[in-house]
C-alpha cells in the first residue's frame, strides 16, 4: 500500500486534509448509527425496567458488582491508553503507537476475560433465562427479562470489543511497518473514535446493568 500521506491517482479527494476530515466525519456518522443499534436495547431496558420494575431490580441485585466495577475501571484506562496512541500517531511516533496500542488491546482483552468469568459464574448459577432459571417467585418473569437484556447487551458489547481489539492490532501492525507520520495518522484517530465509543457504551451499560435499582 502506498504511503497514505500522498493521494493516489484515483482518489476522489483534492487534498490529504480533505480526505482525513472525510474519514473522521464518516466514522462519526457510523457511530451515530451504532448508537441507534444500542438504542434499541436501551428502549427495551427503559420499557421493562419501568413497567416491570420489581423483578427488574431483583435481576440487577444479582449481578456481580465487583467484576462490573473493575471492568469499568479497566475500560476507562484502556480508552485513555489508546488516546496516548492517537497522540503518538500525530507525532509520527510509530513505536509509541505500537506500545500504547498493545496496552489498550491488552486491557481490552482483560475486560473480556473478566466478562467471561462473570458469565461463567452466572451460567453456573442458572441466571440465564430458561426453564431452570434460578430466581423464583412473582418477580421471576421480569428478572428473566432483565437477564435477557443483560446477556444480549453484554454479548453485543463484547462483539464490539472483539472488533475493536482486532482494529487496534491492525493499527499496531501498520505502525510496526512505519506507516504513520505527522502528516498522516488518520487510521489511528479513526480507530480511536471507535474504541472510545465502545467505552462510552459501557459507561451507559454499567449503571443500567449493575447500579440502577440495586439499592
Amino acid at each position: 500500500m502506498s504511503d497514505g500521506s500522498v493521494l493516489d491517482h484515483h482518489s476522489p479527494y483534492e487534498t490529504p486534509l480533505h480526505r482525513d476530515e472525510s474519514a473522521i466525519a464518516g466514522m462519526w456518522l457510523f457511530l451515530a448509527s451504532e448508537a441507534l443499534l444500542f438504542g434499541g436495547l436501551f428502549l427495551v431496558c427503559l420499557v421493562y425496567s419501568q413497567t416491570r420494575a420489581g423483578g427488574w431490580a431483583e435481576g440487577v441485585r444479582h449481578t456481580n458488582l465487583t467484576i462490573g466495577a473493575v471492568n469499568t475501571l479497566i475500560l476507562i484506562t484502556s480508552s485513555a491508553v489508546y488516546t496516548l496512541a492517537v497522540e503518538a500517531g500525530r507525532r509520527g511516533d510509530n513505536r509509541g503507537v505500537v506500545r500504547a496500542g498493545l496496552g489498550a488491546a491488552g486491557l481490552g482483552l482483560a475486560f473480556l476475560v473478566l466478562k467471561g468469568v462473570e458469565w461463567g459464574q452466572e451460567f453456573s448459577e442458572n441466571l440465564f433465562p430458561g426453564p431452570h432459571f434460578a430466581l423464583h417467585g412473582p418477580a421471576s418473569g421480569a428478572a428473566a427479562l432483565f437477564y435477557s437484556f443483560y446477556f444480549l447487551a453484554t454479548f453485543l458489547h463484547g462483539m464490539h470489543m472483539v472488533v475493536g481489539i482486532g482494529l487496534i492490532l491492525w493499527i499496531c501492525r501498520r505502525a510496526r511497518q512505519g506507516a504513520f507520520s505527522p502528516a498522516w495518522s488518520t487510521p489511528v484517530d479513526v480507530v480511536g473514535l471507535y474504541w472510545s465509543f465502545v467505552d462510552l457504551i459501557w459507561m451507559l451499560l454499567f449503571p443500567l446493568l449493575y447500579l440502577i435499582g440495586r439499592a
Binding site: 466525519a25 457511530l31 451515530a32 448508537a35 434499541g40 420499557v47 466495577a69 497522540e87 439499592a215
Partner: protein, 106 residues
C-alpha cells in the same frame, strides 16, 4: 498527556461517585454521573470539538434520533392499560370468571 491523565482521573472519580450514589440509593444521581462520564469521553478522548464540524452535526443528529426512538418508542408502553389474563401467564389463558375481569380495557 496531561489532558489524558486529567480525563482519566475525572472518569475514575466519577466512577467512584457513581458507586457512592448507588450505595446511597440515589438512582437519579447515577444517571447524571453516567451522562457526565459520556461527556468526558466524547470531549476528552474523542475530542469531538477538534474534529471537523460535520462530526458534531452527525453526533447531535444521532442523539436526536435516539431521543425520538426512546421517547416515542416507550410512549405506548407507558400510556397503555393492560388487562392481564388471570390465572398467570405461565398457565396459559383459561376462560376466567366474569368478576375477575374489569369492565373496560384499552
Amino acid at each position: 498527556m496531561a489532558r489524558i491523565a486529567a480525563c482519566w482521573g475525572m472518569l475514575v472519580l466519577l466512577l467512584a461517585a457513581e458507586l457512592a450514589a448507588t450505595w446511597a440509593g440515589y438512582g437519579i444521581a447515577v444517571c447524571v454521573v453516567a451522562v457526565l462520564m459520556v461527556l468526558v469521553i466524547v470531549l476528552g478522548f474523542m475530542q469531538i470539538l477538534r474534529g471537523p464540524p460535520l462530526a458534531i452535526i452527525f453526533a447531535l443528529g444521532g442523539l436526536f434520533w435516539l431521543t425520538i426512538l426512546l421517547a416515542l418508542g416507550s410512549l405506548d408502553s407507558f400510556t397503555r392499560t393492560t388487562v392481564p389474563v388471570p390465572g398467570g401467564a405461565l398457565d396459559g389463558p383459561a376462560l376466567p370468571d366474569r368478576a375477575a375481569v374489569p369492565k373496560a380495557s384499552g
